[in-house]
Symmetry: C2
Subunit: 455 residues, 2 copies
């Protein structure tokens, strides 16, 4: 790719406009947008490059560019260029562009849109950020039940080129109430005189505008749809969510989950484009919060200082106990978090999940305790001559067993409780579980030490 961008920079310098135009003609919008991100030119050259683009690729390419490029182009566009661009964009794309721009730039875009477009954009802008409404497009094929198949093809031909998905047509009555769905394939296979009302599928699955956009994406995935209709509270058709937007929602959702699980406030800007300050801001609150929680673990150690001083061998096992507990707990929590997000596990499954984790943790705990016992005898005592007494070994192994059990039970229940309370279950991943399990493992450790070693 970087060879290509050098090539383009070179052609631009030599003003080989025709060559560039032909080159772009054979490229996909996503690739041109990527090229524009990579290439290092000033705002004027960027504008020039954009103007060289074949007209039919311009809007699609613009939508796929990074925010900085979009902003600098909008500032450089003439009023007429901006108007043309807005009308060429799909409505949901225009809304996304406006959404990510600073207020004054957003204002300028809206002021250049036609009255109709502006009204539609404003309506879409009102939907909450995480709703199905926020990703819908109002451009879809609408048919009436009393139309014939050949009339329907006329509608598709007349409006199709502007529609995001023409392959699923929605049938409404005259009050715009959704009554059926018919695929382009069904139309193709039907007699041209057949009435839509007779060939449509009345069993339509739809979402409401205020439903969660992740729910809409999940339905598209579950039923292998290309588009999903979005209706208002009176079942009147508002628009559609298309599969390409659903895929983006799914990918964003996972990215977000992964970031939250690593104690990072999620963002959607690429890492290399983020400012130092914004990265710092997304990380430091969690680090501080977790650090403060960890000081409680320190306080537990402080209160057993005398016991530790009497049996210095105990200190050496602290990291192993804490780490193993943390790892066991995060295995369970992440398993449950993933199960929740794939809708495989719900709050009602808590007893089943706990019973399963209880048995698995007993199996894991026993195995780890046995391995540690053997390791203490063979490595610590025989090879390193650390002279760990049998009683200390017993304390360590029993702590390990109990810690793993506690860790897995804590790990599997907290995400479900978080979900029930309306929090994102992903918050209950490794960092939080680790912090809690650290304290638990030390309390168990010192309790066994007291009981068995009589400290």
């Amino acid at each position: 790719m970087s060879e290509l961008s050098e090539n383009v920079t070179e052609l631009l310098k030599e003003k080989k406009i025709g060559v560039l135009h032909n080159m772009f003609h054979d490229m996909m919008p996503a690739d041109i947008a990527e090229l524009f991100e990579e290439i290092d030119v000033d705002a004027d050259s960027l504008l020039l490059l954009f103007r060289i683009l074949p007209k039919e690729l311009a809007a699609d390419t613009f939508v796929l560019m990074g925010q900085d490029n979009k902003e600098s182009l909008i500032e450089a566009f003439s009023d007429r260029e901006l108007s043309a661009l807005i009308e060429d964009m799909y409505l949901d794309d225009a809304v996304d562009v406006i959404d990510e721009m600073p207020a004054n730039v957003a204002q300028r875009i809206l002021s250049r849109a036609s009255t109709d477009t502006r009204r539609e954009i404003n309506a879409l802008l009102k939907y909450p950020h995480d709703s199905a409404g926020s990703i819908l497009t109002t451009e879809y094929i609408r048919l009436y039940p009393d139309m014939t198949v050949s009339q329907s093809f006329d509608v598709i031909r007349a409006t199709g080129i502007d529609k995001e998905t023409v392959y699923t047509c929605y049938v409404t009555d005259r009050t715009r109430k959704l009554v059926g769905v018919v695929s382009a394939l069904t139309l193709l296979l039907s007699d041209t005189n057949a009435e839509i009302g007779d060939i449509m599928n009345e069993n339509v699955i739809s979402v409401k505008t205020l439903d969660d956009k992740e729910y809409a994406a999940e339905l598209l995935r579950k039923y292998d749809f290309l588009a999903l209709p979005v209706v208002d509270l009176e079942d009147r058709m508002i628009g559609i969510v298309t599969i390409d937007d659903a895929v983006d929602v799914i990918v964003d959702e996972y990215s977000e989950d992964i970031e939250i699980m690593a104690a990072i406030t999620p963002t959607d800007k690429p890492y290399l484009k983020q400012s130092l300050f914004s990265i710092w801001k997304s990380r430091i609150p969690w680090l501080l919060l977790l650090m403060i929680s960890a000081t409680f673990t320190g306080m537990i150690i402080s209160s057993f200082e005398e016991a530790l001083a009497a049996q210095v061998a105990l200190t050496a096992f602290i990291p192993m106990l804490m780490d193993t507990g943390g790892n066991s707990g995060s295995q369970s929590s992440v398993t449950v978090i993933r199960g929740i997000s794939l809708s495989e596990i719900s709050f009602a499954d808590i007893p089943a999940v706990m019973w399963k984790e209880l048995r698995i943790s007993a199996m894991c705990g026993a195995c780890l305790a046995a391995a540690t016992f053997v390791k203490i005898q063979l490595v610590d005592n025989l090879i390193l001559h650390s002279e760990v007494s049998l009683l200390v070994a017993a304390v360590v192994c029993m702590t390990l067993f109990v810690t793993v059990m506690c860790a897995k039970i804590i790990g599997c229940t907290l995400p479900l409780i978080a979900k029930k309370l309306g929090f994102d279950p992903a918050v209950m991943a490794s960092p939080f579980i680790t912090t809690i399990v650290d304290a638990v493992s030390l309390l168990v450790y010192f309790a066994f030490a007291k009981a068995i070693l009589g400290l």
Copy 2:
């Protein structure tokens, strides 16, 4: 949903076949499959329920059922039923079903397929598990450049009902070499006498059969395609990958990443359906491995036992230093792992990433060290009267600063190195980073303690 399944069980008991048939008629295959998973009936009743399904829903529903239900149905089917089912299934679905069955069941299915179907299935079964070939279907619409638009519609009408995606048609020459692509929308908007060769887009993006299936899914997502052609090494068209399969690949990939990041061997069976032993097996090797690594951290503590005995206050800060280091490191590693999987970061970016993390870690480290210093003075000394000396506070804060820097640098480089060496970068998430950073933080801690406190 569970009300529905009780309802169905009741109707089944009363042998109300007609009512059940009508009920299924209005349901989506995905929902019927879910119902069959939920319902608790014996193999005979399951077979009866399946036989009640409207014929056009049977194959789609079967494909979406869980493995246990599929296996029990296949065993119960008559030879004729099995033959009919295989021919009704999409080829790629049939391959998936055969792939997950035990050898003898797979053999029975293949023996009931028609000669043509069996040959095609066998060809598809040969592709490696993670290749684009493994998710392709050979059912697509193929056109020739010298066909007219109306001839093309005849082809779609004649074969369309069996094809997974009819909306993107692929144009090949007589040797099956891929030469162009034309959408159903273009066909609809073109003159019926126009030749395909004149209206097709010659700029086709395709993958090879042995390309990674995640790469194919990524292309479908990037270019918003509904289908992507798969060709062999001579550019001859083999089949297509459809968007619904790409979405499943994307979701599986993320699930897998999340599991690997939590030190779990990935599986694709739902948690509640997995056996205790298989869950145990997916977790215990990692726990053992990480536990053994953590004992090195213990050895570091052992070798500083005397220093710790002389300055008992030092021990209390160990959990906080280890946890904060681990959290800092996993933030960086997960950010980079996510960047790699979204193709935003590559190995060539190592210097840029390191330079960025270096500055961020200095900012985070300074902030955390300052917070800890204030906390020691206010909480430990003023409120708890722990009398932590200024020198000990200095050791703790300097360790914190250096540990955070080391953790973030280790965290951001290891995933990139793993990727370069051909491992999955997700392995370098929290658990491994934590284990490494634990040892680093203790080494730094004791080095500062030695230097400043003269232990």
